[in-house]
């Protein structure tokens, strides 16, 4: 069993954990935690692919950009969370059901 295959197997597991968290959780914070885990798995996939195809420098350049993006995305998500909390007084995603049809 090559090391690459094992790495990607664990990345798939990590992704499963993240998506599971996003699916079952009702709390917005925990959904964000799940999102973070999923995006960490995606980053690991990128660097691993770069390493095994001899593109490490390229992959590293992409990762730095991704990290900057991630921090802004998480900040935006937390800002939405706080705003939602101020308006609704809860951080429960299933209480958001005013829009239907």
């Amino acid at each position: 069993m090559s090391s690459f295959a094992m790495e990607w197997y664990l990345i798939a597991l990590l992704m499963f954990i993240g998506f599971y968290c996003m699916l079952v959780s009702r709390s917005i914070v925990r959904q964000l935690v799940g999102l973070e885990i999923v995006s960490k798995a995606a980053m690991l996939a990128l660097i691993s692919a770069g390493y095994w195809s001899n593109n490490l420098v390229f992959a590293q350049a992409l990762l730095i950009t991704m990290i900057v993006i991630e921090v802004v995305v998480v900040a935006a998500g937390l800002a939405l969370l706080v705003k939602n909390f101020r308006l609704h007084g809860s951080a429960d995603i299933w209480k958001l059901d005013s829009l239907k049809g």
Binding site: M15, G18, F19, M22, I28, Q31, L35, V38, S39, A41, A42, M43, A45, L46, S48, A49, G50, W52, S53, N55, F58, A59, L62, T65, M66, I69, V72, V73, A76, G77, A79, L80, K83, N84, L87, H88, I93, L96, S98, L99, G101
Partner: protein, 476 residues
Amino acid sequence: MDKALLAFLIIPLFAAVLIPFAARYRPRMADILANVTLLAGLANLAWLALSPSMIASEFANLPGDGLSLLLVGAIYLVGLCVTFFSAWFLDENLPNRPAYYSLLLVSVAAMTGVVTSTDFFTLYVFVEVLAVTSFALITTDESFAGVEGALKYFFLTFPASALIIVGLAILMLTLGSLSYENLRIFMSSDIPAGPVTFGAALIMLGFIIKSGVVPFHAWTPDAYQGAYAPVSAHLAGIVTKISGVYALIKMATLLRFFDGRAQALSEMLMFLGLLSIAVGAIAALRQKDFKRMLAFSSISQVGYIVLAAGLGTPLALIGAVFHLFNHATFKTVLFLNSASVERSAGTTDMDKLGGLEHSMPWTSWTSVVALLSTAGVPPLSGFWSKLLIILALWESGLRTYAVLALLFSIVTLAYFMVMQRKVFFGKKTAAAESSPEVSAPLLAPAIVMCGLIVALGLLFPYFYTYLKVVAERIII
């Protein structure tokens, strides 16, 4: 990146940074700066594409591939309509007014970045910028529905981004690079395409979620309905089209769907396209809310674009690009009109509205033009793009698809007729009694867009030469 179009990215960014400083003491400066920036950009673009020498030479020396120029034009057009509308629509003492305009300009810049990118990772970066600006724009008016729509958008679009990144990783592994050009060269060579199409399929799945095609459309109606009124026109008219559908069209050309190298992917895309035409149209028939109905109609129209992109023949791609452009014009009109109705009558519930044509004739008639164009009635522009798509399907021997696409085009007409009858025609209701026509500046964007719809329909032969140049350049 297209160097010729770089300025269209950088100048809005500068203006966006400038606005908070300029508008510190005079809030109106924000409106003026945003409008002037976009207007200047649009004038410049019109000169680039429509100067007499360019028309005389049948667009032979367009900069870049022509597609990005056309789409930058659409972006600036919708952006200008939305900022102009907002300038009169926004609440006088909205506390985040400068930030609202800055975000609009940043989103215009990001969309320009998307359509001028030459590399999948750059595409991803700008799509993320676009998504981040969209959340904040949706929640501008601090309503419950706005935050709800924004959160739903957030939690569907970022897992999709993770899928895109994994797809990029596989593409990097199997292709050794992420640029469009390398993928195009790879796909036209004889190397077995399996591994690369697997990576491309993941990327495509991510963009399918982002464009709200049917099995993944849960966020679309909520985000459009909940969004602040002018913002929903911005979102439905251009943002989701650029952040999702554009990438699908681009990948359809790069993966060379027309020569059958990625047959399974092409068929899947066409099936999803047809599914979303059907589901969107049928769901739109049963809606009670004006904006929500428009959102489902938007899903259905995106289905046409995706169907044509999935087919991938040159004619189908011309149809897809043209329908994308048309969608920007008619959906902007309809959503801006829904905003006017909301402002004037105070509600968008179709059961409470009725008989608005007497008090709001301009809004009513611009809606009629836009909806006829959506449904594909000649000689409006929407007719030509649907005709091209259906012709392309028929030519490729996909008779069932062609007939179904035609059939659902009639359903489109049906639900719009229901909408028009409920909202504008018929007996006046209590809500309509006290709803005067909105002021002229609020009508101007809708009227300009309607003029464009009619003009594009009548001058279609000229536009077709342009589109043919585009199609020749993007499929080499």
